[in-house]
Symmetry: C2
Subunit: 369 residues, 2 copies
DNA sequence: CTGTTAGCGCGTTCAA
DNA sequence: TTGAACGCGCTAACAG
């Protein structure tokens, strides 16, 4: 516990070598005598030595920090995402710096935060979680070669940016199709704000399923919400007021909106799912405890979190070429690989699949777990 | 956007002064010619200059990073807390580094993480959120003069540690008292794990209210849960099995457990609140959307988050003495103040008050918002 | 394989 | 009120 402030210097003295050598083993360089390396490593952890990130960052020109740009820190999906991220970070030499934009108002531009991140040169890369409007800024960063990964929510397909997302269209398709299979024909859809790509994708999935069933999309059955319970309430009220043309099922683009849907339906003296079936989207931890338990589309958030940070770390430290130059051919390939500029590599797009979680709210007979 | 890498050097040249002077205005030193200062400041933000945190940390021996030690990153209370923290951090020159312990297992010891935090000397202080078992370690840190604030959950009252918490006892007291006022006499309490101070405090509040009403605590009505829905389910099942001695109200020590209580009661064909009233604890965002809407005790998490980080920042940068040395007396006081060692200051304890949020689940006639 | 020499960008002495 | 010089702890060229 009395880990005062051991430096490379100290280790070097104890091991009887120069600081350079210690630095080398620290950075996993191959060119160190195995015995020496072993001895140094031993001394290091027996002394409880950790290099100063500040110093190594300064000297090496690279940082050991990853910036996580979180737009809406209190969004219910965040914890699960962060859990995935933390798992990976814990196993890496990197630390996570949390940049929370939008701690106050919604309309705030992120550019100043981004500017600051870059200018302080504090982080080696950025993971942008639900970047929303600032996607453009970020894309520019990417083009300049700054390691950056976006977590979902890509507007105007930024081709040159790497992202990890979920198959929103397929998720919405599955949800809608499930309702159709239950015999529903009048299925309403409450969208999220159209400025988000996910809203469009989910709407598309909804349309696809209807089209497949030969049903035309009725404009009155498609309302725009705000992802929040309030929006769900308002839209549902509107839907229920059209007495003779009420839908028999409502597919909300977020669980939060679905909560508003559920309570509004109840307030109208109607029952879920007997009178109206409801499906949400996200599978927020609470949804299984809703009454009735909410059928919803689960996004593999934990997995997405892991994959996104893994991808980012990979962009920062490109994995070593495993091929050893035993012969001309492989030597040549190694040369090529090392000669090639690594940064403007082709962007990686990872789209994970969603899954429909069937619970009581959609009328299926399944148990609610 | 092309904020490449402007250094103090550049600013100094543009302003026609030495780097030292620029550094001075950066650190808000008073001994700079006002005109010069103004000019430099202007150039700085017209150039979009931000000092390198790494370099200034190295040189100055102090960091601009705050470490947030979060034990259970996916705990539903976290987002709201983080929102408060982010708000304050955004307004400060500090950044937040997220140390998530327990990304995997529960029993993991935090000491290695703490060790790492200290050894890398990366952070200027630590905010420990729900530190749980590692409180002892942290207390030691405090004693060594390291700036540290604990967010709630203090076990074995660590006197020399500063913390921010909520008045758990009063919250539980209010909840129980409310039930008593509704006429309930057999009130069960589902505790959280007893290793957490909050569990004990809430239990105490429960007992106090009963005692005040002249009711003895019945051991069969006090069960130990795990803060999770599952625990709520199990305990409720146990309570309901004692047919003739069923409670008429259940006070759960967390909203999550209350969800389990609600669903179990429903499964038993009973109604809330007609047959059994339910009150939870925390006021998780979702609780207002539960069916029936959950009466609960709200902790001012956002405020607590703000206060805790503010306190920590204050410990790191003790506020300047405002008194200017215009005369002998004040000059003397200034001297004294500056001579005194700042670090081992007396610990600050902030306890914010909770509030009962009455909704449908406890049988009050109030609307559920 | 190893040591030596320079800095990284900034804060902090000093002296002016 | 200002500037020059030194060093924080480490990495990155070089040479050996």
């Amino acid at each position: 516990m009395t880990t005062g402030k051991i430096t490379i210097q100290d280790i070097a003295q104890l091991a009887g070598v120069s600081k350079t050598t210690v630095s080398r083993v620290l950075n996993q360089r191959p060119d160190v005598n195995p015995e020496t390396r072993e001895r140094i490593l031993q001394i290091m952890d027996q002394q409880g030595f950790f290099p100063s990130l500040a110093a190594s960052g300064l000297a090496g020109g690279r940082s050991r920090l990853i910036g996580a740009l979180v737009s809406v820190i209190h969004w219910p999906l965040i914890p699960e995402i962060m859990r995935g991220i933390a798992e990976v970070i814990d196993q890496s030499p990197y630390e996570l710096v949390l940049y929370s934009v939008n701690a106050g108002n919604d309309q705030k531009d992120y550019s100043d935060v981004i500017e600051r991140i870059l200018a302080t040169k504090l982080t080696a890369g950025i993971l942008a979680i639900y970047p929303g409007q600032s996607a453009a800024h970020l894309a520019e960063l990417c083009r300049e070669g700054f390691p950056l990964v976006m977590f979902d929510d890509q507007i105007n397909p930024p081709e040159d940016i790497s992202w990890v997302g979920a198959d929103q269209k397929a998720g919405a398709y599955a949800a809608t199709r499930h309702l159709l299979q239950q015999g529903h024909r009048r299925i309403a859809h409450i969208q999220g704000p159209l400025q988000f790509q996910v809203s469009l994708d989910r709407y598309q999935g909804y349309c696809d399923a209807l089209a497949e069933a030969g049903i035309e999309v009725e404009p009155e059955l498609v309302l725009q919400g705000d992802f929040m319970p309030t929006g769900g309430k308002e839209c549902t009220t509107q839907l229920l007021q059209a007495l003779e043309k009420r839908p028999t099922a409502i597919f909300a683009a977020s669980d939060l909106m679905a909560y508003g849907v559920l309570s509004t339906i109840t307030e109208y003296g109607l029952r879920v799912p007997e009178d109206i079936a409801v499906i949400g989207y996200d599978d927020i931890p609470f949804s299984r405890h809703a009454q009735p338990a909410l059928t919803t589309v689960r996004q593999p958030l934990h997995e997405m979190g892991k994959r996104s940070i893994e991808l980012l770390l990979q962009m920062i430290d490109p994995p070593e070429i495993k091929v050893r130059p035993w012969n001309h051919k492989s030597a040549l390939r190694l040369q090529d690989a090392m000669a090639a500029p690594v940064l403007p590599a082709s962007p990686v797009h990872i789209k994970l699949s969603t899954s429909l979680v069937v619970r009581a709210s959609c009328g299926a007979t399944q148990h609610s777990l």
